[in-house]
Symmetry: C2
Subunit: 224 residues, 2 copies
Amino acid sequence: MTENLTLQMDDYLPLRDVVFNTLREAILKGELKPGERLMEMHLANKLGVSRTPIREAIRMLEQEGLAVTIPRKGAQVAKMTEKDLQDVLEVRDALDALAVVCACNRMSDAQFVELKEAMKGFEDATKTDDVRRIVEADEAFHDVIYAAAANPKLENIINSAREQMYRYRYEYVKNPSVYQQLIAEHKSIIEGFDRRDVEFLKDIMHTHLSNQINAVREVIREQK
Amino acid sequence: MTENLTLQMDDYLPLRDVVFNTLREAILKGELKPGERLMEMHLANKLGVSRTPIREAIRMLEQEGLAVTIPRKGAQVAKMTEKDLQDVLEVRDALDALAVVCACNRMSDAQFVELKEAMKGFEDATKTDDVRRIVEADEAFHDVIYAAAANPKLENIINSAREQMYRYRYEYVKNPSVYQQLIAEHKSIIEGFDRRDVEFLKDIMHTHLSNQINAVREVIREQK
DNA sequence: TCTTTGCATTTTGTATTCAATCTGCTTTTA
DNA sequence: TAAAAGCAGATTGAATACAAAATGCAAAGA
């Protein structure tokens, strides 16, 4: 349920954007669960704004694939079927392959240093029990690669694909037995960039992604 | 059972969606040009609705990448730089490759027939001077392939990428000298599906797409 | 018992209103 | 003259008001 949704007022950011970010975060963190209704009045009261910015935020969530609205019935947090997840992963697989190829050709020395630091940050994070921190460290690692690909359109599209599955991924990351494997894969990725070995990189990224699918599949199955 | 449940479904489509479709079409057809301001009052008067559905439609266009809004200054039709176009094409190249691989594995016999018919439809269209019809026939041909890929998420993402460049593509298609080449390429694609030759298909799709880039690049250059 | 109907309530769709901000122009002032 | 200040109109941001549709439930009818 929607117990403690609060707005953080970044001054001068239109309310619709503040609301959008708030709802987006809530959906990704699982505070708003798939299938949960997004009732305008309810959200407006909760967030202390009128319905107008709520409605605009919902339109944005809709286009991002995080919400679905049925005309005259209202919006709800998007549910994903197993098929949907498979579809998204298929797309991410292709896009990650592209990203890694681009990044391999375009990564600067500074960015390579950044990547190694992000790798270290992830390793440190796994030593804590803070799942949120671990997830964020993993995202940060991949963000460096996407940034190095120097293709903002690609980055956008990958992010939207990532978003759609992240709320199902928490469960996967909660299991500490996978940390060592993740660390090893990240290390391989760094090695691949060091050698500028595109084929190796595409391969390891594919493995890296595939490992998540079964875990996430479990979560989705439980959803029923 | 009652028979005509869907009498005038358009009456049931919320105005925001009608406005969204209208503006989207106008942008893709070039009636609203890149950089042109989208003023709420102006559009509201023009379309005979209030500002509310206009604002919601603009939020949707924004997420689709067709409009850009600066807070407190308003929205405008998104401009694309040469770099943006290159970036989108890079992404489409990867996604089309994926689509063609999926389609190759999953295409039904009925869909293959459909593809051949779409091919014929395109060939016929090129015999007219109706650029709009030619463009639509080309899109229809590719739609069959995307549908055969049986991955709605992929289809969505490809469509959004296509949209972003279509308004720059009209100029390319206006030049009749490219028709024969397009027809030949479409024939090759059909041949590839017939042989189920994935590598050949990926290659021809890449060529098919690359041919567009220089023409579109010209158009963008003129935009300045 | 199982529909059907009517009605009150909730919720969404759209318009309108009011407030804040931006823009361009004119006036002031150093 | 050039920069700053001030002001009016235009435009966006957000709240409120009103209309239309969906929902749930209880009573009526078969």
